[in-house]
Symmetry: C2
Subunit: 452 residues, 2 copies
């Protein structure tokens, strides 16, 4: 396959020469998921032409729903409200909700107003669910069967549907009663291999795993991954089936949540991407960086307490970054392991208190070994065994506290029902900096006479 850059160049040349039919044939050969990188590099006029061509090929909807947010915003700038409403109208409601939220505010109501009435009603309903909940991610387009239907009747039912719309993901068939209460699930493979006259009620697996519409999407992803499901039914408080979430949407959620976890450790906003415009990135980063600056001054003020000590032993200033750096890294390691363990649901295997205790022990051991190394260098560099001892004790102490804090912060945040990774990186490193400076300079002050 040609690289996206090459294909883009060919495409632009075809469009510039007015060879629309050849351009059309070219994009027809590109998978919807691969059209994103192509669209990213076109001018507004070119984008408009390509979207029109895609629309004729009935592929505009699937292409647009796969675009990353930044590219989507760039593409919609080139597309009129009418066309946009046409395109959105072909998508499933979870995708529409998602994309409407990405539209610039001033166009949102105009585009939504142009959607068909039933589509708008679905949209209004979906928007009632909390953000990041199962209700927002689910599709309401599922096949529900009656327990009395035979396998053959069920197959006929799917066939009738299949010819109508493009129901992509019939993997499980759900059995519900007259009140839409979920009773069981029939995997399509079971249906295929069953005797044609067997009723679905006999074929179905009872008590299927399901989630409530208000379940957080991260929890949904965890359940789907844990039970190796291809789709999971979404029910209301009474057990009535509302929709279903398919595994491809779950993969998107897993990526999104992993990005959020990685970003939180660095104090980044989840909306920022490699290709976000500079202005957006700056706006998103500034608040956390100002917080970071404020906390850095907190750590600095700890150093300020010991100005007199540093004045007498300037070598301390040279070793400050070593002690603080090691403590900071230790804290971030403990934090990362525990936060990731929470994210993957592994903390179930071990109680929170045990996890904190374990990190504490690990960090003491690592602190003791690296503390010895650090002390040797300090002895050699600073010229006195007392200086080595001060470095050793400061490293051991600050790394032990860092491990304790690193492990405790995400567990505490979780207990407070907050995101366990939220801003923990900044919190932990400031804290460890302050502790490291206090321990190092404090102990040095105690031994001041023998150091200077």
């Amino acid at each position: 396959m040609a690289t996206p850059e090459l294909t883009t160049r060919i495409l632009r040349r075809l469009l510039a020469s007015g060879l629309t039919t050849r351009a059309e044939r070219l994009i027809a050969r590109v998978h919807a998921a691969d059209l994103g990188p192509l669209l990213a590099n076109l001018s507004q006029d070119e984008t408009r032409t390509i979207v029109d061509l895609l629309f004729q090929q009935r592929r505009a909807a699937s292409t647009i729903s796969e675009l990353p947010p930044e590219i989507f915003r760039q593409v919609v700038e080139a597309v009129g409200d009418d066309r946009l409403a046409d395109v959105l109208g072909r998508l499933e409601v979870d995708d529409i909700v998602h994309l409407v939220a990405e539209l610039p505010e001033e166009r949102r109501s105009a585009v939504v107003g142009l959607l068909a009435e039933d589509c708008r009603a679905d949209l209004r309903k979906a928007e009632l669910y909390p953000e990041h909940s199962a209700g927002r991610v689910m599709t309401t387009d599922f096949v529900a069967l009656d327990a009395k239907m035979t396998a053959q009747e069920a197959i006929d039912h799917i066939r009738a549907r299949g010819s109508r719309g493009e129901t992509d993901a019939i993997l499980y068939l759900y059995v519900a009663d007259d009140e839409r209460l979920l009773q069981g699930v029939v995997p399509i493979r079971r249906l295929v291999t069953a005797a044609p006259d067997r009723p679905c009620g006999e074929l179905m697996l009872r008590e299927p795993v399901s989630v409530r519409a208000d379940t957080d999407q991260e929890e949904v992803a965890r359940i789907v991954a844990r039970y190796n499901l291809l789709a999971i039914p979404v029910v209301d408080a009474d057990g009535r089936m509302l929709g279903l979430i398919t595994v491809d949407d779950v993969i998107d959620v897993i990526h999104e949540e992993a990005t959020e976890d990685i970003y939180n450790l660095a104090g980044l906003d989840e909306e920022e991407r490699v290709f976000s415009p500079v202005g957006l990135s700056v706006r998103k980063r500034l608040p956390w960086m100002v917080v970071n600056l404020a906390t850095a001054f907190l750590a600095a003020s700890v150093v300020g307490l010991f100005r007199h000590t540093i004045e007498q032993v300037v070598t301390l200033a040279i070793f400050m970054p070593v002690v603080a750096g090691m403590a900071g890294n230790t804290g971030v390691q403990a934090l990362t392991v525990v936060a990731r363990g929470i994210a993957l649901g592994e903390t179930e295997f071990s109680s929170g208190l045990r996890a904190v205790g374990k990190q504490f022990l690990v960090c003491i051991a690592v602190g003791a070994v690296t503390g010895c190394l650090g002390a040797s260098v300090a002895y050699y560099w600073g010229g006195s065994p007392i200086f080595g001892l001060v470095v050793f004790v400061a490293m051991l102490l600050s790394m032990a506290v860092a491990g304790l804090a690193g492990a405790a912060v995400p567990l505490t945040l979780k207990a407070l029902q907050q995101d366990p990774a939220l801003g923990s990186g900044v919190l932990v490193t400031t804290f460890t900096d302050a502790v490291a400076f206090f321990a190092f300079l404090g102990i040095a002050t105690l031994f001041l006479e023998r150091l200077s």
Copy 2:
């Protein structure tokens, strides 16, 4: 559902009272994926009893294949070689490869020797593929059809298979010719809804997306996510079908790779988990922490160059952590955004050079704003406008360089075909520390007369 802690307590009490039948009924009600947390907290004797019970229920294999590595190692300690070989023999070859690798070395050959001959042959073949490659993750248990088979014949074929083994994941049927060359794919839903006498050759989608056996698992996961697939065929260099990778294994790969990315930023080994024994964690962390210590001394030696300057203006020592901390955080932010963009394949939307340039601009802007704030505090604290100016220039300069380095490191590692996140965190923060100290203390030295 009862919590794992409660279930474990009940289970232990039942076993202690010899009420095996009731224990058996209790675990029969627990899903295989939920048995892990239970097994984690049992004694060796209890584990052995439970594994025997699970074996009788024909669930030992599915339970054991779902255990996290640490718990797996703990469970196998309680289980004899014979029983272990029985259990492994029921799994698919990708799971066997994976679990055999987790066995303590001294038991590996004994257990493998007890496996059936065909199982051992499969294992030897799988182990020829490079680690983390598609060949290692694929299952060789797939349904291949002939293009001339009718839809009905294909269904009969699946039915015959289904009654034999437990083929869990028939979602796509693959059409191959006499030489096993992959020709197309028939989604099971198409088969169900097609006229019974239509040949598979007409029903199949041609040129299905496939991967080579030596493709890296991360790339496989990206392709499956991109095209929203439920399974992907694995072929050899000539296009002959070797096996297939299902979406549930892809989800495991995504989790594994995300963990690796998060861990790399903190200098952690991917094998470490929340519940790893203390000894393992310490062994895994020490090497990187020693590297970190060495690089911290590098940064410290930069400070050492300016000992004379600090002696004269001790306030500099107080502001050092502020400048270095802000630069470090800026570098890690740029690094995180770019490394994550590479991991998600988003860098396709934008060239590497553009990404670096963008990070540079963002960091200059953030550096300018926070630099002004930092300078104001420095002015107030240090008592001289020159001191404020020094802080401003040092922050702006070091944050700009940090952004450049943070963005360039993962792209360079990728260009060198290394993992873009590998140890980048330690590299970047050391570099930014050194740059920040050099910029701050260097500029201060230039203005030394007017500062002191």
